[in-house]
């Protein structure tokens, strides 16, 4: 039987405001426990929340970028449940009137573009963090009250891969908007998944499970792969799927049921009486809209059109805004976008990965990169030299022209200067000479390689080739 997987994702995003959503405490990550707290975010009796307008503005930014309809009136609700990391034992959230609804985000699958609908976007406060010890638990409330944006998709994804693509596309948009660090390891971006299985063609959704505790996009994909298989196996065996919350076990790569005690809540939502409704002014929203940069999708299309990049190259480059900006600067300076893209996705990307840095911190001004590329174009240096030169430029921060001069790396095309190296190569590799004479044309390439080695990559390979052929012909 043929099955269809149905997936919806809930993403929790810490907004990168300086202060918390309902008090003035700092949101810095990594400070000593409970040093960024006050009576409000500790939920002390008598304290009252006051809305941080910036968090609402950032939320609206996301909502607009995801093509959502923004609510005319912003209200908050209390979500009531007991847990030690929740100091008031209720969370200020939004229930029936979220910040925004009905948006859409496009993903690109192997086959085509696909629209994933966004159900709702709402603002809420984060909880504290528990640290369990042998026979006690500790609580750090630094995180309590950090603004969280919850972005809920419709169940529009039909494979773990699509879920992965959705998360990547969403993260890319969020990074463009500069609203969050989007760091899953630090918890500034968290994701829960709802997944169910139905027979292909069925209209009704199957029984879903909710998967929590995934701490990377790859983890989400792996968890959903396991869970979809588990559900299909159950259906194949004629068994029923139980609606439940399951936790992803990262070590074992499986999902396991959460103890039922910790779920099944009646959250008793009701309007938060400590906050007054907030109304967006039209021009306030217009200003937010104006401040939104070109987003990955339109940028990708533009790069394909303006710079003749392949779909793949364009997608890779625009997935990170800094990379896209960097590419565009270099492409304009140098004039050959394809060459820039190759270097960016090849040697530069490899260097960054190796050294664990991002493009923002890369010590390579677009002017330097394009300068170096121009030296290749004009034959001043060889492509091979350029590869080592690139690393040198980054490490020393020196101008490529200067560096080439200083180290004497210019390409050697002068026959007189190459003569010795060519003669030596021929003398030392008589076997290749014989091979060539016996009709093995390739043997000349080996000799070119020897000359390159002797000149430390500086010889003009075409010239050397020419010279060798001349010499070997004469020797025939």
């Amino acid at each position: 039987m043929s099955y269809e997987i149905v997936i919806g994702l809930e993403v929790h995003l810490q907004l990168n405001t300086k202060s918390k959503v309902f008090c003035g405490c700092s949101t810095d990550f990594g400070s000593a426990p409970n040093t960024q707290t006050c009576p409000v975010c500790l939920g002390f009796p008598g304290s009252l929340p006051v809305l941080n307008r910036l968090s609402l503005e950032l939320g609206a930014r996301v909502a607009i970028a995801l093509n959502c309809q923004i609510a005319k009136e912003i209200r908050f609700d209390r979500k009531n449940y007991f847990y030690p990391d929740l100091p008031k034992d209720y969370q200020i959230s939004q229930f029936d009137q979220p910040l925004a609804q009905r948006g859409v985000l496009n993903i690109i699958t192997d086959e085509a573009e696909k629209k994933i609908r966004i159900r709702r976007v709402h603002l809420e406060e984060d909880t504290g963090k528990l640290f369990h010890q042998k026979d006690s638990s500790l609580i750090d409330f630094n995180r309590s009250g950090i603004p969280l944006l919850e972005i809920v998709s419709e169940p529009d994804m039909n494979s773990p891969e699509e879920a992965y693509l959705y998360l990547t596309a969403l993260k890319s948009v969020l990074e463009y908007l500069d609203v969050s660090d989007c760091n899953m390891e630090e918890g500034s971006l968290r994701c829960d998944a709802n997944i169910s299985i139905r027979k292909k063609g069925d209209k009704e959704l199957g029984t879903k499970t909710e998967i929590k505790n995934m701490n990377s996009f790859k983890g989400v994909k792996a968890a959903l792969e396991y869970e979809s298989k588990r559900q299909i196996d159950l259906l194949e065996d004629g068994k029923r799927i139980i609606q439940e919350t399951r936790l992803y076990n990262v070590e074992r790569c499986i999902t396991e049921p959460m103890r039922s005690k910790e779920e099944a809540h009646d959250y008793r939502y009701f309007p938060e009486p400590d906050l007054v409704p907030f109304y967006f002014k039209e021009d306030f929203l217009r200003d937010i809209e104006k401040g939104i940069p070109e987003l990955p999708e339109p940028k990708r299309n533009r790069f394909i059109k303006d710079y003749q990049l392949s779909n793949y190259d364009a997608a890779v480059i625009v997935s990170d805004k800094d990379t896209a900006d960097y590419f565009e600067k270099c492409a304009r300076l140098h004039g050959n976008p394809k060459t820039v893209a190759n270097w960016l996705m090849g040697d530069i990307s490899a260097y960054m990965k190796e050294n664990g840095i991002v493009i923002k911190n890369l010590n390579l001004k677009p002017e330097r990169l394009s300068g170096m590329l121009r030296m290749i174009d004009s034959g001043v240096i060889t492509g091979k030299i350029a590869k080592t030169l690139l690393i040198e430029i980054i490490k020393t921060g020196t101008d490529p022209e200067e560096l080439v001069k200083e180290k004497g790396l210019e390409q050697i095309s002068d026959i007189n200067l190459l003569e010795n190296a060519v003669d030596e190569a021929v003398a030392e590799n008589q076997k290749s000479v014989v091979d060539f004479k016996n009709g093995k044309d390739n043997a000349v390439m080996f000799l070119v390689g020897r000359v390159m080695q002797k000149t430390k990559g500086r010889a003009n390979p075409n010239k050397v080739n020419e010279m060798l052929r001349e010499k070997l012909k004469g020797a025939k």
């Binding site: 304290s47 009252l48 006051v50 100091p87 209720y90 009646d266 008793r268 009701f270």
Partner: protein, 482 residues
């Protein structure tokens, strides 16, 4: 002279003349407390050394203020930094907040001297101050009787001259009803007039802090002192605070005052009814035009209140869970066990009753029938007042259907107890201001109160009617024999 028997504005005059010093007032208060507090149980926390020390450390620079050097008490649900603030509940035993309520800062900045905390119904749940973990407060007019509640400690302390004035909080009548039963003045401001920051919440959409005083002039001074927008409280309104002292002295001639028929019900004390009639006559003699009218949704007020208030309370009181502060039960086996035992040991019966009621009203499957419907009816009650104030400048009613009842008389029957707030609840639901002033005594020498309700943010009007009435009667001059 017994300075403790005087009003704040009397004392301010004497201080200005240099006849007395703040320490003199403080000493008189301490003497009185030492004499009568064992009979009244009006105070929750009082440390005379600390009170004297504060008196001695007064900032001379603030001397020009009317409240400079005047001692005061506050209800035990208003936070004072590093001082016990327990809401008269075991669950907050030993709790000392790390911050001051906004009203505390406002009063002490003016040079008023904080003396201590007054007793109250646990978490303000009650109309008799019998649910306090410190035992019931007694009415100074008859110590066998309750002082009203939940700000019964504040009202009894002021009426019994243990305090010059006190702050209370009013969620459904908790300032006005005890003021009425103790024969003093109690003012509940418009919702949003006074910052709630630092008031331990009972029902956030209804709570307001207000003064309990010996006369209307003091109420006007205090209201001015504690009012105004506070950036720490989003629900506090950015509305101009007028000069009540001059505004209240205008005549009441020509003012239109409504007398709602729904506030003269069967089962209310005949003596209360008769006193009200006489009070209304008095207002007419002073030139006001009193007219019968109707607030048709009044009968639903108590039901609506006990759904809205308990729903909010169930959520507001969730934080008392033993995790960070207050009581944590010993010998617990698990997290759930800690929650259950702590709350079982920490809360009294009435608190438990209201938490259960409110939790129920918000529960899935019941929400629409109870909480959501209550909100709708609340809007209707508010609309009643909006319409009435199109025609009337103010509304007068009895504050309470009866005078003070006996201790223990209603504790077994919560519903009867809830009905003692029947005339005060609507003002909280509608968010409008109300004041209770003495307007007579029963044969048993128990005070009766007149309630005056006004338009939102028009406290000036109710103070004006109250002041004119008071200046032409002597009820406020009577003192209980303790």
């Amino acid at each position: 002279m017994e300075l403790n028997t005087l009003t704040a504005h009397n004392l301010a005059d004497l201080l200005k003349k240099g006849d007395i010093s703040p320490i003199d007032i403080c000493n008189n208060i301490i003497d009185k407390i030492e004499k009568t507090e064992n009979k009244l149980c009006a105070l929750a926390h009082f440390d005379k050394e600390k009170a004297l020390e504060r008196c001695g450390n007064l900032d001379k620079a603030a001397e020009k203020n009317l409240l400079w050097g005047i001692p005061f008490f506050i209800k035990d649900n208003i936070c004072v930094k590093d001082e016990l603030t327990t809401c008269s509940s075991r669950i907050l035993k030993n709790f000392k907040p790390p911050y001051n309520a906004t009203v505390i800062g406002k009063l002490t900045d003016l040079g008023a001297v904080l003396m201590g905390k007054t007793n109250m119904d646990e978490f303000a749940f009650g109309s008799s101050t019998e649910t306090s973990c410190y035992g019931p407060t007694r009415n100074p007019w008859d110590t066998e009787r309750i002082p009203g509640g939940s700000s019964g400690g504040s009202a009894a302390a002021v009426a019994g001259d243990e305090a010059i004035f006190a702050l209370g909080s009013d969620t459904g009548g908790s300032i006005r009803q005890p003021a009425s039963l103790c024969g003093v003045v109690g003012l509940k401001p418009t919702y949003g007039r006074v910052s709630r920051y630092g008031l331990i919440a009972f029902a956030s959409s209804l709570d307001q802090i207000g003064p309990i005083t010996k006369d209307v002039e003091d109420a006007a001074i205090l209201l001015k002192a504690i009012s105004g927008h506070d950036e720490m409280d989003s629900t506090s309104a950015d509305v101009l605070v007028p000069d009540y002292l001059s505004g209240m002295k205008k005549s009441v001639k020509g003012l239109k005052i409504g007398v709602p028929k729904e506030y003269f019900i069967e089962g209310m004390d005949k003596e209360v009814k008769d006193s009200l009639k006489i009070a209304i006559d008095k207002l007419e003699k002073l030139g006001a035009v009193c007219e019968d009218m109707s607030l048709p949704h009044t009968e639903y007020a108590v039901s609506v209140y006990y759904l809205v208030a308990t729903a909010e309370a169930s959520s507001n009181l969730a934080r008392f869970d033993g995790v960070q502060y207050g009581l944590r039960a010993d010998n617990v086996k698990s997290m759930m066990d800690m929650y259950k035992k702590t709350r079982k040991e920490g809360f009294g019966d009435e608190a438990k009753r209201r938490i259960i009621l409110g939790t129920f009203a918000l529960s899935s499957g019941y929400y629409d029938a109870y909480y959501a419907k209550a909100l709708k009816v609340r809007t209707l009650i508010k609309t009643d007042f909006d319409e009435a104030f199109q025609k009337f400048d103010a509304i007068v009613t009895p504050t309470s259907p009866t005078a003070a009842f006996k201790i223990g008389e209603k504790t077994r029957d919560p519903l009867t107890m809830y009905l003692s707030d029947i005339f005060t609840i609507s003002a909280n639901l509608a968010g409008i201001p109300g004041i209770s002033i003495p307007c007579g005594f029963t044969k048993n020498n128990l005070p009766i109160g007149l309630q005056i309700l006004g338009k939102p943010f028009d406290e000036e009007m109710i103070l004006r009617i109250a002041y004119n009435y008071e200046q032409n009667t002597d009820w406020h001059k009577r003192k209980p024999k303790l």
